[in-house]
Point group: C2
Chain length 385, copies 2
Amino acid sequence: MKNKEPMRIALLGLGTVGYGVYEFIRAREDLQVACAMSLVVPEDVTCPIVKDIRDIWADETIDTVVEVIGGLHPAYEWVKGSLEAGKNVITANKLLIAAHYKELVSLALEKGVALRCTAAAGGGIPWLTSLKRCAEQEPVIRISGIMNGTTNFILDTMHTTGGSFDTALAEAQRLGYAEFDPTDDLNGADIRRKLVISSNIGYGCVLDEKEVATEGIEHITGEDIAAFRSMGRVCKLIAASRKLDHSVAAYIEPALVPPSMPESAIPTNYNLISLTGEHIGKQSFYGQGAGRYPTAYNVLQDCVDVSHGIRGFYTDRLEEAHVDNSTVYRHYYVRTKGDDSWLKARTESFLPCGVITEAVSVSEIHAWAKKRRELDPDCFIASLR
Amino acid sequence: MKNKEPMRIALLGLGTVGYGVYEFIRAREDLQVACAMSLVVPEDVTCPIVKDIRDIWADETIDTVVEVIGGLHPAYEWVKGSLEAGKNVITANKLLIAAHYKELVSLALEKGVALRCTAAAGGGIPWLTSLKRCAEQEPVIRISGIMNGTTNFILDTMHTTGGSFDTALAEAQRLGYAEFDPTDDLNGADIRRKLVISSNIGYGCVLDEKEVATEGIEHITGEDIAAFRSMGRVCKLIAASRKLDHSVAAYIEPALVPPSMPESAIPTNYNLISLTGEHIGKQSFYGQGAGRYPTAYNVLQDCVDVSHGIRGFYTDRLEEAHVDNSTVYRHYYVRTKGDDSWLKARTESFLPCGVITEAVSVSEIHAWAKKRRELDPDCFIASLR
């Protein structure tokens, strides 16, 4: 590590997050944006703009590449090439890290460079660094939480106003809390990536995201919310995983939480993410899960850590593990049109617009819901906590 | 820093926390309890027991002293002497650090050794390390939270059961959540120490704990709680501070929080502590604020950090600052027997057992309450959030 001389950074992307990172670094003396790549360049950006990523790879004065362009391509090629060129890489790209976890982590470890992605899960919350810190001292046995601000905003708005899903989604889009195409947020794909990255780091494993049972909130209605309110519960989209002996339970689902759980009181687009350590018990981390400055802040923290000499990934354990949700049992709220013999046999009580089941395994009911949608596309399930 | 050889630790205290630290370190190879001092020594402790602290100071093979005896004496003399002898010091002693902050921090900085006290605020929550991490990157402008497990357990029990203060306190004592003499927890002295240490680190200042306006929960009644429930609010003992231009607002008081604030859902003896950074916004940290293993865990994390070469204190800024609560305005619930002209002039509405005031300054109402207790010792106030 060079002392006194600033760490020279190539910044890939000058969009919402990228420009926030640029602003933060501009105000510092220990870090320097040596050059940037971006299709659109804000007027007051004064660093050289590079057109070809290979110029960055060939520049030996550049220590570290910060990737904040998002998406899978060309982010994958650029990050992989940067690691191969011996550069440290800092990224906020959860899509990329969840999809190519083993390959990219192995490559960083092999090359002896840093790979950091703290902003990829929890936005501006120091979640992955805290998780790593705990996992180094004692076994992490559970991870769970509200890890998607868009869905939390929509659910919170529906609970607060009593309005419809469409109205809440439109409001989220108006305020910039939901993207123009919110599919990946609503169907759980976004939060699933964050759960996979977190579980991999916490348990030292490698999960295949396609194995994670996933139910989103796209089918929830104002009537569902009214029923939950009458039960004294709040609906939240929850990611959860548990370390088992030879596998990992991991799933995404709407959950009905009682007021005694802190998750019930997480407002608007905030996140709350928890780990449970063997001795330390449950620890939770709360803050803004997205937005220019919160996300840029965690990218900056990663830059500072790397400039202080931190190398490698959060963990060097890469044991492939399968997902097994057959041992986790919960009661579920289920709303579906028409009769179903499986559901009928497991119904414990009736609500105006749905039923409450006996305790069933997560794997069984998620599989049932997937199949049920062939007959009733609007079928909705939510577990009781 | 020696590589491979374990860091040799002198452990002062083998009580609840000390024995937990001993158990954690026994299982590791990078740390070693070289010797311990304790009046009572559990049977399975196999390290040498030292009778005179000067033997530890004179032993050049000992890097680090861990102080977990608690109390002001002899902890003060032992910690000070250890720093003077060039030892790193790790302590869980909030009483000691709050009372002798400037002297001990200055001494550690002067000697170039580590002084760490992560377990002193937030028990097992990585609060002080996260606060330091944020304060290094951007100005921290607010700190607040539930930082005392005893009072949270009592208030939570009163809300949940509808029972009296005495019953809840007895239950807390039965479960080990309150000490035999709970005075410092109930009157706010304990949480005040944690707020002072946190504010000092967050803002880079030195506060005098006696200047922090402090109202505890020792006068709260079941009738108060019933009134808060009818308002849809939950009573919590809150510590709060704000960085002002040339001073710091800092106070401890019962606060009535709405269900939309995560603070409302903090159960039993848990803590929730928050910081607000200029760009990053509010970040909160939740977990067990006390107990053998959570507290020992943060002591262990400090040991690991020091073994990795971390020195000094969380901050090296020691600017003395005065407390000024005259610019923070809130509405208050006030219950007092008999007439009072000041209160009458500021009353906005009436409840069965108390009144709600117009917005008044924290400094004014805390001063009023202190004076009012000369006439009505049971007077109780709580701010509305």
